[in-house]
């Protein structure tokens, strides 16, 4: 691991606080436009346009849910078709064994079940949660306000353009309420 002679360990990055949804979107956009890529914004509620501003225009949750939903529906259908028509057919009054219309409700329920499980667990997994520790929690202002009314922008020190003084000046120039170092 790289280390300076001043600081024993390289910080995670810098964090700037803003006080409104508009100002954080604006600041995130400007930071991205200035060439920073390892940036992340934090807000107490979803702010529209903030994901695009930090360079995350779209996610793959819908695709994953679609795939899992179809998997669930086919599993449900196969479960019934195989058991009722092949593995243990009941002969009742000469009715067809492969009575697919009767299999639709369970097919549908299984599709919904798998899709909903993937929508929740898949979404959390994609987000890397559960994650008990993250460096941003070292900032006192962050933990005090991110769930209430604080809007935060971080630039990670691993970003190519990161420079402790330059980046700090840049963030302050965006109108941040305060800028602080995030311990790793």
């Amino acid at each position: 691991m790289h280390s300076d002679h001043d600081t024993p360990e390289k910080p995670f990055g810098l964090m700037a606080e803003f006080d409104s949804p508009e100002s954080i979107v604006d600041a995130a956009q400007k930071t991205y436009d200035a060439g920073y890529r390892k940036i992340e914004a934090y807000s107490p509620f979803p702010v529209h346009g903030l994901d695009e501003a930090v360079g995350f225009p779209s996610n793959r949750v819908s695709l994953m849910v679609l795939i899992c939903g179809l998997t669930g529906a086919s599993t449900g259908f196969l479960l019934q078709a195989v058991s009722m028509a092949y593995h243990y057919p009941y002969m009742i009054g000469g009715r067809p064994e492969m009575s697919w219309p009767m299999f639709i409700p369970i097919t549908f329920e299984c599709g919904i079940l798998f899709a909903a499980f993937s929508a929740v667990f898949g979404m959390f997994a994609m987000n890397g949660l559960p994650m008990p520790y993250h460096p941003v929690f070292n900032v006192k202002e962050f933990t005090e306000r991110v769930g209430r009314d604080g809007f935060f922008l971080t630039v990670e020190s691993s970003d190519d353009r990161y420079d402790a003084d330059e980046t700090r000046k840049f963030l302050e120039g965006l109108g941040a309420k305060n800028v602080c170092v995030v311990e790793p």
């Binding site: 807000s43 994901d51 919904i112």
Partner: protein, 461 residues
């Protein structure tokens, strides 16, 4: 500003969804305080004590049921389904309003859902707990309840997948799981906010574990919002399918009074109707006791009353059509069933039902009544009773008189039927009170989004 904007403003509700004077911090504090700092109203402890007695009663009734068998209930052939199935359908129906509020109204961009969705979802969850218990305990041998699931077994047998009773197993278990996931997903950001402000160490640990380390990052919110919207999109057809499947339990049978195609839509409407009545029964005291009148405004109460009126009319139409088709079908059995239902041994229950569900909600046409919380509370209770009677009429009167006079018989619930039902009400209230005590009961991040929207709307003019 363009003319469309002006028109939109004119359409804005006169009573706001969120009273003015709130900012992001004050909203968070107000919701969180109920859980972490404010002393609870005395009535909470009183109700908690009462509901705990209800839970004990339920445990006793179930213990007796498991030792003595379903003979302690009033069920006897020909009426093999009694209070157990009536209560099952009643509870599951109540649950549906929670899903309607959280999912369908989200898809339709109905902002007024925001302050009531959290506890309506909790209501769904607890109602499903009460409902799900009945199919399990009504079996003669509840310890082999797992026989209804498809699993590899030494007998190489499968459940009959063409039976609506097996569809029910899948529908109810899916509904319970999805409701739990939907509720929990909505809670995570608020639990994270609770974690960050918790002073009590134990509370902090608990909130930290359940909030999964949520930190509100923009990328997380992006995936979260997509997921939440998809869950809403999935829950919407789910809730319709669940009560349709519940109605198939009856409609697929050939008993006169059950075998009708009107059952699925009219059961779904009835479910929403009963559910909104229960949401009102819970919301009216809550907004008063916890001083939440600025978040659950008269606008919410009024809207819920309107939904209740509309679904009530659909249900009433269902009753009329049932009677009409019994006559129009020309079937001797259907006509005899209807005659028995209206003027026979159980006639009192039919007319009580018409009074509770058909006539009483007509009062909701008047805005003075919709805005009077006492009247609305009373109407909601009447509607809940009416919806219970509806299932009583459907289950009992149909079974008591089928095709052969030799297999006719009358039925009454026994003391233990009543004790079990009272017990589930106790359990419902018990779980709900715990929820109010330990979990933020209004979604604070969604209210903040609403506030943000209101601010922008204000600025535009």
């Amino acid at each position: 500003m363009s003319t469309t904007d002006v028109r939109l403003r004119d359409l804005e509700p006169k009573v706001p969804l969120l009273e003015h004077g709130h900012d992001y911090a004050s909203l968070t504090d107000k919701i969180a305080e109920i859980v972490d700092t404010k002393p609870h109203p005395k009535i909470w402890f009183v109700l908690f004590a009462i509901s705990s007695c209800g839970v004990l009663l339920l445990l006793y009734a179930l213990g007796l049921l498991f030792t003595k068998g379903v003979g302690i209930w009033g069920v006897m052939i020909p009426v093999g389904w009694g209070w157990d199935i009536i209560n099952f359908v009643w509870w599951i129906g109540i649950g549906h309003a929670g899903t309607l509020i959280s999912a369908i109204l989200l898809l339709f961009h109905q902002d007024w859902r925001t302050s009531i969705n959290r506890f309506a979802e909790a209501m769904t969850l607890f109602a499903v707990v009460c409902a799900g218990m009945y199919p399990l305990i009504h079996m003669g041998r509840p310890w082999v309840a797992y026989f209804i699931m498809p699993y590899p077994n030494s007998m190489a047998l499968w459940p009959q997948f063409r039976s609506p009773l097996v569809w029910d197993v899948f529908a109810i278990s899916t509904y319970a799981s999805v409701s739990l996931l939907f509720w929990y997903t909505g809670l995570v950001p608020d639990l994270a906010a609770m974690r960050d402000r918790a002073k009590n160490k134990l509370a902090k640990y608990a909130f930290a574990i359940f909030s999964l380390g949520w930190r509100g990052s923009a990328r997380h919110w992006s995936r979260y919002e997509t997921s939440y919207l998809l869950l809403a999109g999935l829950s919407t057809p789910l809730v319709v399918s669940v009560h349709s499947v519940v109605s198939f339990d009856f409609a697929v049978g050939i008993i006169p009074g059950w075998h009708t195609t009107i059952f699925p839509p009219y059961f779904v409407a009835g479910a929403v109707y009963a559910g909104f009545a229960m949401v009102l029964i819970l919301a009216i005291p809550i907004r008063h006791l916890y001083n939440l009148k600025d978040m659950i405004t008269m606008k919410h109460i009024d809207n819920m009353a309107k939904v209740m009126l509309v679904t009530g009319l659909v249900v009433f139409y269902g009753y009329l059509m049932e009677a009409f088709f019994a006559w129009y079908s020309g079937s001797l059995w259907e006509r005899a069933m209807m005659a028995h239902r209206t003027f026979g041994y159980y006639g009192w229950s039919y007319w009580a039902l018409i009074l509770c569900n058909g006539l009483c909600p007509q009062l909701l046409w008047f805005s003075a009544i919709r805005r009077n919380t006492y009247a609305l509370f009373a109407i909601s209770i009447v509607v809940s009773i009416g919806m219970w009677l509806e299932r009583y009429v459907i289950v009992v009167t149909s079974l008591a008189r089928d095709y052969l006079p030799s297999s006719w018989g009358n039925y009454h619930g026994s003391l233990w039927d009543q004790a079990t039902f009272l017990g589930t009400m106790g359990l419902f209230l018990f779980l709900f009170l715990l929820f109010v005590r330990f979990v933020p009961m209004i979604s604070s991040f969604e209210l903040k989004m609403l506030l943000d929207k209101q601010k922008h709307h204000g600025k535009a003019h």
